[in-house]
């Protein structure tokens, strides 16, 4: 069915099957767009910063503004120490997600972030970084994360329980937020785009009415560009906030 909105998320192998031991490493359309995202992002950065002029040209300005934007975000959320330790990690995550979302916005192209395995991998990376750095740096003091200060003793057990549950549901919500936003956005686009030929085929007055879903598709497309940026930003911002917990576990 050409109008099937879920069809755009199918993963198709584009190379002969490659198996490394038990791992299926076949090159698929998802891998292609992840590689393309990394190539475009790093290629643009290298190309824009090639002259390293004191007074930047337009491309260099874009690269520097992007760098400064993330730098400011990490500094606000995780402090100077966070910048020193985690800035490359957060910047890489942001650029990768941003490029993956943006490349996915092209019609017939594939958005790797619409696969939960991609977002879950990144979310678990952040989760285990928080655990390992937090315990390695603070030792047992890391457990202060679960005991907020200033809570009356008789409700403390419940608060600790809730804090523990919320800590362990973080990778879930972190991964699902990005995945579901991209997935839902692309689904809605496809569904509204599907209305256009459906109404046009009906003919008569309905044909004239098909301009409405067409306008809606264009408006949703603009919204999806906003979402593509915003979700990359949100993912990076939450990463900073979680990493800040690893550095300073006391509330």
């Amino acid at each position: 069915m050409s109008n099937d909105p879920i069809h755009q998320f199918h993963i198709n192998p584009i190379s002969p099957p490659i198996h490394l031991g038990a791992v299926d490493a076949t090159f698929t359309n998802a891998s292609l767009f992840m590689v393309a995202g990394v190539a475009v992002a790093s290629g643009f950065m290298a190309w824009a910063m090639r002259s390293q002029a004191l007074v930047p040209n337009r491309a260099q300005s874009v690269a520097e503004i992007g760098y400064g934007f993330i730098h400011g975000m990490v500094k606000d959320a995780a402090g100077e120490e966070g910048v020193k330790r985690f800035f490359p990690f957060v910047f890489t995550l942001f650029t990768f997600i941003f490029m993956a979302n943006m490349l996915g916005m092209f019609p017939y192209w594939f958005a790797p972030t619409s696969q939960i395995i991609v977002t879950a991998t990144m979310a678990l990376m952040v989760f285990f970084t928080v655990l390992i750095i937090g315990i390695g740096k603070n030792g047992f003091k890391f457990l202060k994360l679960f005991v907020p200060s200033g809570v009356p003793i008789y409700i403390l057990p419940f608060v600790v329980l809730i804090e523990i549950i919320s800590f362990f549901s973080r990778p879930l919500s972190h991964a699902v937020r990005l995945w579901a936003n991209v997935l839902a956005g692309h689904l809605v686009l496809k569904v509204f785009a599907g209305f256009v030929p459906m109404m046009a085929a009906a003919g008569g007055l309905v044909l004239v009415g098909s301009i409405l879903p067409l306008t809606m598709t264009v408006a949703l497309y603009a919204l999806e560009f906003l979402v593509a940026f915003l979700q990359a930003y949100v993912f990076a911002l939450l990463t900073c906030i979680y990493l800040n917990d690893a550095l300073h576990p006391g509330h």
């Binding site: 975000m73 919500s173 937020r177 936003n181 930003y233 911002l237 906030i241």
Partner: protein, 76 residues
């Protein structure tokens, strides 16, 4: 009732949860605008907090949408 029909009804019911997230997101942006119009110079500094609150609230709506999508499209 047919299991397929129950799935469709369940997906519809699951989407009600998104209304609550809509209310929450509205409250966040509405209150931000109120504060921002009272004190515009301080507003840009709170952009990170705004987006953080938006993201945490929106996640709950996304969860219910996720349940609806799972019910609709996952074949057991």
């Amino acid at each position: 009732m047919d299991a397929e029909a129950a799935k469709l009804i369940g997906a519809g019911i699951a989407c009600i949860g998104m209304g609550g997230a809509g209310v929450g997101v509205g409250i966040i942006f509405g209150n931000f605008l109120q504060g921002a119009l009272r004190n515009p110079t301080e507003a840009p500094k709170q952009f990170g907090n705004l987006i953080f609150g938006f993201a945490v609230t929106e996640a709950l709506g996304i969860f219910s949408l996720l349940i609806a999508l799972l019910l609709l499209f996952v074949r057991l």
